[in-house]
C-alpha cells in the first residue's frame, strides 16, 4: 500500500466536501429503523417487569392471544435455552446466555423494565391492550441498586451460579462480583516510599445513557422457506445477524440483516434487544413484525454505561515526577456481568510514564439494566478519578497542571501499566499545543475557573471488508459493510477518490447488507475510517492496477509501461510510446473489450490502529446562589493522525465533549426505594442541549500513524474521556471545592457550598 503513514500531495483527503448522506438526512428521506413499511406488517410490543428483582411464578398469555387482532405472543419459552457460552462476536466478548436472558427474562426478572413477553397485533393500540391481558405472577425479591452495596456479603444475589473470576483460590460461594482483574508494573510500595508528595481520593460516577435520538427499532420477516430478513438500526448488521441466529438456533445463512440508517448509537447499538423477538413473532404470525421502543423503554431497558467508584492514590517527587500510582475501579455491570472494566483500568493512566503502578478492577452486577458500550467504554470513568487526582497533585506541588502532565507524559517507548509500549504517539505535541493555545492564558472573572484534563483511547481495527467498483461511465462505487454513524461514507469515498484520481463527487459510497459483502466487525472502537478505509484504499489500489493493465491493452504495450497519474493512465516514459493520457472514463467505457467489469473486494483483519490522546481546557462559572454551572469556553485538542475530512473530525470532538459535559454536570439514573427508574425521559434525564453549551473549539494535532493510510487515527472516542475531570477541575478552580461525585448538578453543588460556608 503506497498511502501508508501520510502523503503530502493530496487532492481530496483533508478537504471538506458535503457528506453523501446529508441531503437524505436533513430532508427526512433517509430510512431509519422505524421507517420501513411492509404489506401486512404487524406492530410488536414488549411486556416489561415493574419490579427490580422478582421470581416469575407464572405467565399466562391466553387472554392476550385471544384478543381480536393479536396474531402472536412469545415469551422466553419460545426460544432455546442457551448454555453459558462466551465467544468473540464482533469486536468483543459476548455471553450468549446473558444476551438471551436480557432479551426475554427466564425464571427471574432482574431490573425494572426487564422484558418478559411480547405480542404482535394488527395495530399498536391492540398490541398495547394485549400487554395488559398478559398475566404474570411474581414473587418479589430483595433488590440492590448501588454497586458497593451489591458487593456486600449479605447483598441480594442476582445469579446463584455467578462466582467471582480472577480470585485465587477460586471462591466457593456465589457473589455479585463477577470478575476481578489487576494490572501491575514495578513495585508500588517502593514507588510510594520514594514519593515526597502524595494525594489520595475517591471519585464516583453515575450510570449515564448514550442518549441516541433514534430509539431501538426493527422490522423482521420470517419467510415460509425459513429465510428471514431483518431491517434494523444498529452499529453492525453482521452482529445483528449472528446474535439473532445464535439466540434462535438458526443458520446464519438463513438471515439477511439489512442496515437501516442509524440515528445515533455511541456504543448503545452494539448489541440487540428486539430483533430475535420480532423474528419469533413473525414466525408465529406469518407476517412481518415491527417493534419500536419508546423513550421510556430505551432508558429502562437498553444499556446505559456503568456508574462506578474509582479510588486513586498518586505519589510524586517535589519536581513533579510521578513515582507510583494505585487505582481501584469498581463498575456496575447492570443485571448481567460485563462492564467495560478492562478499558476503564487500562486507560486511566495510559497517558503517563509511571514506573510503579497497581490497578485493580471489579465487575459487579446489580438490579439495573445491563450496561452497553458507550464511546470509549469505561475510559471516562477511570480517567475522571485519575485526572481529578492529577489536578489535586498539581495544586499540592504548586505546579501548572499542563506542566505536571508534560513532566510525566507518555512518549515513544513509554510502557503503560497494562504492559503495552507506546509507539508513534502524539501526546507531547498535543500538550504543547494546549499550553500554547490562547485559551489557556485568557483571563478569568469572579466565580470562574479553568480546568485541564487529558484522555487516552486505544482505537481498534479488526475484521473488515470493502469493495470498489468502476461503473461504465467512469464513476465509482464504494461498498462498505459498516453502518455510517459519524460520516464514514464521506471519508471512505474521499480515500477512494484520492487513490483513483477521481473527483469526490464521482465516487458514491453505500452501506451493504450482510448478503452483499463479507463479514465485518461493528461500527465502534473508532475503527471504521481506519479499518474499512484500509480495505477501501487497498481495493482502490487493486483497481488502479487493473486500470493500468486495461490501458496497456488498449495501447498494446506492456502493463509496466503504464503509470496512473491524476485519474489517467499515462505512458511511463518516452520509450512507452507517445500516447495521449487515457482518462478513467475512457478505460471504463472499453471494459467489455478489455476483460470485463473493473472492481476489487478486499477483506482483512486490519491491525495497527494508532492510539489517540486528547487534552481539554474548560472554563466555567459557578452561580453560588443556584449551584448552576455554566460552561463559558471549551477547547478540545487531539492528535488525530491525519484528518481525512476535518469538519467531521471536528464534529466528533465536539460531540464527545457535549456528551462528556452532560455526564459531568447533569445526567444520572435516579431510582426509587423500590428499585424503579424515576427519570426515564428527556424531561427528567437532563442531557445538554445547544443552549447549554458554548461553541466548542477544536485543535487537530496531526501526528501521523505510520500503520494507517494517510497516517489517520480513529478520532471519535477519546473526546468523551477528559470532559468530566476537566469540569470538576474547573469547578475546583472556581470555588475551591473538589466535587468528587458526578454529576456536579445544582443541588449537589449548592449543598457542597452550604457545607463549606458552615
Amino acid at each position: 500500500m503506497t498511502y501508508m503513514g501520510g502523503k503530502s500531495d493530496l487532492r481530496v483527503v483533508g478537504t471538506r466536501p458535503v457528506r453523501p448522506d446529508g441531503v437524505d438526512k436533513v430532508t427526512g428521506r433517509a430510512n431509519f429503523g422505524a421507517d420501513l413499511r411492509l404489506p401486512g406488517m404487524l406492530e410488536g410490543r414488549i411486556k416489561r417487569s415493574p419490579y427490580a428483582h422478582a421470581r416469575i411464578l407464572r405467565i399466562d398469555t391466553t387472554r392476550a392471544a385471544a384478543l381480536k387482532g393479536v396474531l402472536a405472543v412469545v415469551t422466553s419459552a419460545d426460544f432455546p435455552e442457551i448454555p453459558y457460552e462466551e465467544a468473540i462476536s464482533g469486536d468483543g466478548f459476548v455471553n450468549y446466555r446473558y444476551v438471551s436472558g436480557n432479551m426475554l427474562a427466564r425464571g427471574k426478572v432482574l431490573y425494572d423494565g426487564h422484558a418478559v413477553a411480547a405480542v404482535a397485533a394488527t395495530s399498536a393500540a391492540i398490541a398495547e391492550e394485549a400487554l395488559d391481558l398478559i398475566e404474570i405472577d411474581y414473587d418479589v425479591l430483595p433488590h440492590v441498586i448501588d454497586v458497593e452495596a451489591a458487593m456486600a456479603p449479605d447483598a441480594p444475589l442476582l445469579h446463584d451460579d455467578l462466582f467471582t473470576a480472577g480470585l485465587t483460590p477460586p471462591p466457593t460461594a456465589p457473589s455479585n462480583i463477577s470478575k476481578r482483574i489487576a494490572f501491575n508494573i514495578g513495585d508500588v510500595a517502593t514507588g510510594f516510599a520514594e514519593a515526597e508528595v502524595m494525594v489520595e481520593g475517591r471519585y464516583t460516577t453515575q450510570a449515564v445513557h448514550q442518549g441516541y435520538i433514534e430509539p431501538h427499532a426493527c422490522v423482521a420477516t420470517w419467510g415460509a422457506d425459513g429465510q428471514s430478513t431483518i431491517f434494523s438500526s444498529s452499529q453492525g448488521a453482521f452482529m445483528v445477524r449472528s446474535l439473532t441466529a445464535k439466540l434462535m438456533g438458526l443458520d446464519i445463512a438463513n438471515i439477511r440483516a439489512v442496515p437501516a440508517e442509524i440515528g445515533g448509537g455511541f456504543g448503545g447499538k452494539t448489541t440487540i434487544y428486539l430483533e430475535p423477538v420480532a423474528l419469533a413473532l413473525s414466525r408465529k404470525a406469518g407476517r412481518p413484525v415491527r417493534i419500536v421502543m419508546n423513550r421510556e423503554e430505551v432508558f429502562r431497558a437498553s444499556g446505559p454505561t456503568s456508574g462506578g467508584v474509582v479510588a486513586v492514590k498518586l505519589g510524586a517527587k517535589r519536581d513533579g515526577t510521578l513515582t507510583a500510582a494505585q487505582v481501584t475501579v469498581t463498575l456496575q455491570a447492570g443485571a448481567f456481568p460485563g462492564s467495560p472494566l478492562g478499558p476503564a483500568c487500562m486507560c486511566a493512566l495510559a497517558m503517563y510514564d509511571i514506573k510503579n503502578v497497581a490497578i485493580t478492577g471489579y465487575d459487579v452486577v446489580s438490579n439495573r439494566p445491563k450496561v452497553a458500550a458507550y464511546r470509549a467504554p469505561g475510559a471516562p470513568i477511570g480517567s475522571f478519578g485519575a485526572e481529578s487526582a492529577m489536578d489535586e497533585l498539581a495544586r499540592k506541588l504548586g505546579m501548572d497542571p499542563i506542566a505536571l502532565r508534560q513532566k510525566n507524559a507518555a512518549r515513544e517507548g513509554t510502557r503503560t501499566a497494562y504492559g503495552v509500549t507506546h509507539h508513534d504517539i502524539g501526546f507531547e505535541q498535543t500538550l504543547a499545543a494546549a499550553k500554547a493555545h490562547p485559551h489557556y492564558s485568557a483571563p478569568l472573572g469572579v466565580n470562574q475557573g479553568r480546568g485541564v484534563a487529558c484522555g487516552f483511547w486505544f482505537n481498534i481495527g479488526g475484521e473488515s471488508a470493502a469493495a470498489v467498483h468502476i461503473n461504465e461511465d467512469g464513476t465509482a462505487s464504494v461498498v462498505s459493510p459498516n453502518p455510517d454513524i459519524g460520516g464514514s461514507r464521506a471519508s471512505l469515498a474521499m480515500m477512494a477518490a484520492e487513490v483513483l484520481g477521481l473527483p469526490y463527487e464521482k465516487v458514491r459510497p453505500i452501506v451493504a447488507d450482510t448478503a452483499s459483502i463479507p463479514v465485518s466487525g461493528m461500527t465502534g472502537g473508532s475503527r471504521v475510517t481506519f479499518a474499512i478505509g484500509t480495505c477501501v484504499v487497498a481495493a482502490s489500489e487493486k483497481v488502479v492496477e487493473q486500470l493500468k493493465q486495461r490501458a496497456a491493452m488498449i495501447w498494446d504495450i506492456p502493463p509496466d509501461a503504464v503509470e496512473w497519474k491524476d485519474g489517467q493512465a499515462v505512458p511511463a516514459g518516452p520509450n512507452a510510446g507517445g500516447f495521449d493520457p487515457l482518462p478513467l472514463a475512457a478505460i471504463a467505457a472499453k471494459s467489455a473489450r478489455t476483460g470485463g467489469p473493473i472492481g476489487a473486494e478486499v477483506t482483512a483483519n486490519v491491525q495497527g490502529a494508532g492510539a489517540s490522546f486528547a487534552v481539554h481546557i474548560c472554563d466555567l462559572e459557578v452561580d453560588r446562589e443556584t449551584g448552576r454551572v455554566t460552561v463559558l469556553r471549551y477547547t478540545a485538542l487531539q492528535d488525530v493522525g491525519r484528518a481525512i475530512h476535518p469538519s467531521y473530525v471536528e464534529g466528533q470532538l465536539q460531540g464527545g465533549v457535549a456528551q462528556g459535559l452532560g455526564w459531568a454536570l447533569n445526567e444520572e439514573y435516579v431510582y426509587s426505594a423500590e428499585g424503579r427508574l424515576e427519570n426515564p425521559g428527556f424531561l427528567d434525564y437532563r442531557m445538554p442541549v445547544a443552549s447549554d453549551l458554548p461553541m466548542i473549539a477544536t485543535v487537530l494535532v496531526e501526528v501521523p500513524n505510520p500503520r494507517a493510510p494517510f497516517g489517520l487515527r480513529g478520532v471519535a472516542e477519546v473526546p468523551i474521556v477528559p470532559p468530566t475531570a476537566a469540569v470538576a477541575n474547573a469547578v475546583r478552580s472556581a470555588i475551591g471545592l473538589r466535587m468528587a461525585d458526578l454529576p456536579i448538578s445544582p443541588p449537589k453543588l449548592l449543598a457542597a457550598l452550604d457545607v463549606a460556608a458552615a
Binding site: 466478548f93 485465587t168 467504554p377 509507539h423 483483519n605
Partner: protein
C-alpha cells in the same frame, strides 16, 4: 528470544506468577502453542480471551504475525469500542 509480558493477574496466575517470560517462537501462533505446553491453560486463555500487543501494536488476532528475537509480546484483555 521474544519476550512475553504478562501485565494482568489472570495470565500471571497461570504462569506461576511470572511477569515476563521468554519463549522460543517465530510466529504468534507458535508462541501460543508453546505457552500452553509450558503452562496448561495459558495458551487457551490467550487464544480465546486476550488481545496481544506486539512491539506496541495491538492485534485482536495475530496468528500470522512473525516474531523476531527482539519482539515484545504483551497479553492484554480484548478491547471493544463504543
Amino acid at each position: 528470544m521474544p519476550t512475553v509480558v504478562l501485565a494482568g493477574d489472570a495470565a500471571r496466575a497461570l504462569a506461576g506468577g511470572a511477569a515476563e517470560l521468554t519463549v522460543a517462537a517465530t510466529s504468534f501462533r507458535r508462541l501460543v502453542t508453546e505457552l500452553d505446553a509450558r503452562f496448561p491453560g495459558l495458551g487457551r486463555l490467550v487464544d480465546e480471551g486476550m488481545a496481544v500487543a506486539i512491539d506496541g501494536v495491538i492485534f485482536q488476532d495475530a496468528y500470522a504475525v512473525p516474531l523476531t528475537e527482539a519482539s515484545e509480546i504483551v497479553l492484554i484483555p480484548k478491547i471493544a469500542g463504543g
